[in-house]
C-alpha cells in the first residue's frame, strides 16, 4: 500500500511586502513547509503505521522547493521518501496547473491508494489543488478531514461539514484534504533530522511527466494594491484602565459605532 502526501514549500504572505504598484515582494519572507502540511503528514503517518503502508511525500514547484534543506524538512516529519518536481516554469503556476502536475506524479509513482493534503496553503489558500487533483485522477475528494482509519478499500473518514460532522466510508482510492485542526503535528527532533538525511529523494523532470495540456491560458495583465479603508491608528492611554474605557466609549459614540 502506498500513501502520498502532497505538500508545499512556500512562504507566508504575512512576511511579504506589497509595492504601490501591487507587486508582491517576497525577498524578506523565509520559505518553509506550508503551515498546515505538517498536519497532513502527521495524519498520513498514523495511517501508514497502522496499515504498514509506504509514505511518499510529493511536492512540485519552482526552483527551491527541492533543495536538500527543504526535502529534509519534509522527510523529518515522518515521510519514507520524497518525489520532487522542481522547474521554474511552475513559478506562479495556477491551482489547476499544479494539480495536474501532482496528478502526473501520482500516476508515475503507480499503485497509490490514497493522497492526503493539508487544508490550504499559507500563500495562496485556495483549497482547490486537492479537488482538481482528484478530478484529474478520477478519484473522489473529501475536504475538512479530521481523522482516517481502516484499510484502503474500506477507509473510515471523519470530516467536518457545515453544522456538524460526518463519518464516511470510502471504498476506493481517494484524495483527502485534512482540516487545519485534525491533529497537532509533533516537532521533529535531532534524530528525525539525521534520519531524514538518509531517506531517498527522487527528482523528476517536468518534461518526463504526462501532464494533460490545459485548455486555458492565463496572462496577468495588471496588478494593483487593493484600496483599504484609512484607519485612525489612535492609541489610547491605558495607564488608567477605567479612564481608557470611558475615552473609548466616548470616541465610539462620536463616530456612531455604538
Amino acid at each position: 500500500m502506498k500513501i502520498v502526501v502532497a505538500y508545499k514549500w512556500t512562504s507566508d504572505p504575512e512576511e511579504a511586502t506589497v509595492g504601490a504598484d501591487g507587486v508582491v515582494n517576497w525577498s524578506r519572507a523565509r520559505p518553509g513547509i506550508s503551515t498546515y502540511d505538517p498536519v497532513a503528514i502527521e495524519v498520513a503517518r498514523g495511517l501508514a503505521a497502522a496499515t504498514s503502508a509506504e509514505l511518499i511525500g510529493v511536492t512540485v514547484g519552482a526552483k527551491g522547493v527541492g533543495t536538500p534543506l527543504a526535502a529534509k524538512a519534509a522527510l523529518s516529519r515522518g515521510l519514507d521518501r520524497a518525489v520532487i518536481v522542481e522547474d521554474d516554469s511552475l513559478k506562479g503556476a495556477g491551482q489547476a496547473e499544479l494539480a495536474a502536475v501532482v496528478a502526473a506524479v501520482v500516476r508515475r509513482i503507480g499503485d497509490v491508494d490514497l493522497v492526503i493534503t493539508g487544508d490550504s496553503s499559507v500563500d495562496v489558500a485556495a483549497k482547490m489543488v486537492p479537488t482538481v487533483l482528484a478530478g484529474e485522477l478520477g478519484w473522489p475528494a473529501v475536504a475538512e478531514v479530521t481523522d482516517v482509519t481502516g484499510q484502503p478499500g474500506a477507509l473510515r473518514v471523519g470530516r467536518a461539514v457545515p453544522g456538524g460532522a460526518q463519518v464516511l466510508e470510502i471504498s476506493g482510492p481517494a484524495v483527502l484534504a485534512t482540516s487545519a485542526d485534525a491533529t497537532t503535528p509533533h516537532v521533529p527532533g535531532m534524530k528525525d533530522l539525521l534520519a531524514a538525511g538518509k531517506k531517498p529523494v527522487e527528482h523528476v523532470d517536468l518534461a518526463a511527466l504526462d501532464v494533460p495540456a490545459s485548455s486555458a491560458v492565463m496572462t496577468i495583465t495588471g496588478r494593483a494594491r487593493p484600496a483599504r479603508k484609512e484607519r485612525k491608528h489612535q492609541l489610547l492611554d491605558t495607564s488608567d484602565p477605567a479612564e481608557a474605557a470611558a475615552e473609548l466609549v466616548k470616541a465610539l459614540r462620536e463616530v456612531g459605532a455604538l
Binding site: P13, E14, V18, V24, G94, Q95, A96, A125, A126, K127, M128, T131, V132, L133, A134, G135, E136, W139, P140, A141, V142, A143, A160, V161, P162, G163, G164, A165, V167, L168, E169, I170, G172, S214, S215, A216, M218, T219, I220, T221, R223, A224, P226, K229, R231, K232, H233, Q234, L235, T238, P241, A242, A244, A245, L248, V249, L252, V255, G256, L258
Partner: protein, 328 residues
C-alpha cells in the same frame, strides 16, 4: 449592477454585457452540492451578459434540485445522488454534465462539498481555476478577472482564454421565482463514498454578517470559562461574538462558523473589537470592510495595532471589564 457581497467587498460588478456590442451569449454552469446556497452565484452568472443560458448541476438531494429549479436558472440537471451518499460521490456525473455542454465560466461556492464538485468540473474542462474574483468581465475571446491573491494583499488582473472555474461566496438560498424549470436527471456511476453517520454540531449556528457590532476573541483569552467576561461585554454592546481560527479550530471553544478571516467569515460591521488577537493577515482580511476597528492587546508590537482605529495596549481582562462597566 450591484451584486452580493463578494470576497469581502461590496462590488459594483462592471459586467460588460458584450464588449463588442452584439448579442454574444455567455453560457455558465453552476455546481451545487448539499445546500442550494447559490444566490450570489446566480447573480454573477446572470451578469455575465448576452442571452446565454445558466445551467445548474446538482449533486445533492432531489429537494436541493427542486429549490434550484425554481431559482431563476435556465436549466437544472440532477445527478440522482443515491440516499446515504454525500454530494462528492456524484462528482463524475457533475463533471460529465459540464463537459458535455462546455461553458465559458463554471461557478461554485466555498462549502467543502461544492469545492470538490468545482474541482471535478475544472479538471474535466482543463479549465483555469481562480478563487479570489472581485469582478469578471467577459469579452469576445477572453474572460478577464480581477483576482485577489495572497490573503488579498494584491489584486491581479488575469486574462484567460479558455474555460475558467471560479470559486466564490455562494450566498443565500435564492427565493423562488416563477414556475421553475423541469429537472433533467442524469446518471453516472457514483464514487464509492457512503455516509455512515452524521453528528450535529454542539454549537448553535450564527450569521455574523447580520451583526452590526462584532467582538472577535483570540488566543489571548486564557480559558473557555473566561468567555463569560466577553459575553457580558457583548450584551452591553449588543454585539455578536466571533473569534480567530485557532479559537474555533483547535481550542474548539466556538463553532467554525464564528471564526473570521480568509478561510472563515468576511464581515463588514459598524464596529469590530479584536480582543487578544495578534492581527495576522489571514484574520484581518475578514474585517477590512468594518467601519471602525478597535483592538485590545497586551503586546504593544502586535500587528493588529497597525490596522485599527483605536488601540488599547493592556490586559484584556482588566480592559474588557472596565468597558463593560462604562457601557452599563
Amino acid at each position: 449592477m450591484r451584486c452580493d457581497w463578494v470576497h469581502g467587498y461590496w462590488v459594483h460588478w462592471q459586467w460588460v454585457r458584450c464588449e463588442k456590442g452584439f448579442g454574444m451569449s455567455v453560457n455558465a454552469w453552476i455546481v451545487v452540492g448539499d445546500q442550494p446556497a447559490i444566490g450570489n452565484l446566480i447573480t454573477v452568472a446572470r451578469s455575465l451578459g448576452g442571452d446565454g443560458t445558466i445551467a445548474a448541476v446538482v449533486a445533492g438531494p432531489r429537494a436541493v434540485a427542486e429549490t434550484v429549479a425554481a431559482s431563476g436558472v435556465d436549466r437544472v440537471v440532477w445527478c440522482g445522488t443515491p440516499d446515504g451518499s454525500p454530494a462528492e460521490a456524484s462528482a463524475p456525473a457533475v463533471a460529465e454534465a459540464v463537459a458535455a455542454d462546455p461553458p465559458r465560466v463554471v461557478l461554485g461556492g466555498r462549502n467543502p462539498g461544492d469545492r470538490v464538485l468545482l474541482g471535478a468540473a475544472a479538471a474535466a474542462l482543463h479549465a483555469a481555476v481562480l478563487t479570489g474574483a472581485r469582478s469578471v468581465t467577459v469579452g469576445a475571446d477572453t474572460v478577464t478577472v480581477v483576482n485577489a491573491v495572497y490573503g488579498d494583499i494584491s489584486d491581479e488582473t488575469v486574462e484567460i482564454s479558455g474555460p475558467v472555474a471560479l470559486l466564490l461566496d455562494g450566498g443565500s438560498v435564492p427565493a423562488a421565482s416563477g414556475a421553475g424549470v423541469p429537472i433533467e436527471e442524469v446518471t453516472a456511476t457514483p464514487y464509492g463514498v457512503k455516509v455512515l453517520e452524521t453528528i450535529p454540531s454542539e454549537f448553535e449556528e450564527v450569521d455574523l454578517n447580520a451583526a452590526q457590532r462584532v467582538i472577535g476573541v483570540g488566543r489571548g483569552l486564557k480559558a473557555k470559562e473566561d468567555l463569560s467576561l466577553i459575553e457580558a461585554l457583548a450584551a452591553a454592546l449588543k454585539a455578536e461574538i466571533a473569534c480567530s481560527r485557532p479559537v474555533a479550530e483547535g481550542l474548539n471553544w466556538m463553532g467554525k462558523d464564528r471564526y473570521i478571516g480568509s478561510s472563515g467569515a468576511r464581515i463588514s460591521p459598524q464596529l469590530y473589537l479584536a480582543v487578544g488577537i495578534s492581527g495576522q493577515l489571514q484574520h484581518m482580511v475578514g474585517v477590512t470592510g468594518a467601519e471602525t476597528i478597535v483592538a485590545i492587546n497586551s503586546d504593544p508590537n502586535a500587528a493588529v495595532f497597525a490596522q485599527t482605529d483605536y488601540g488599547l495596549v493592556g490586559d484584556l481582562y482588566e480592559l474588557v471589564a472596565e468597558i463593560t462597566s462604562v457601557l452599563k
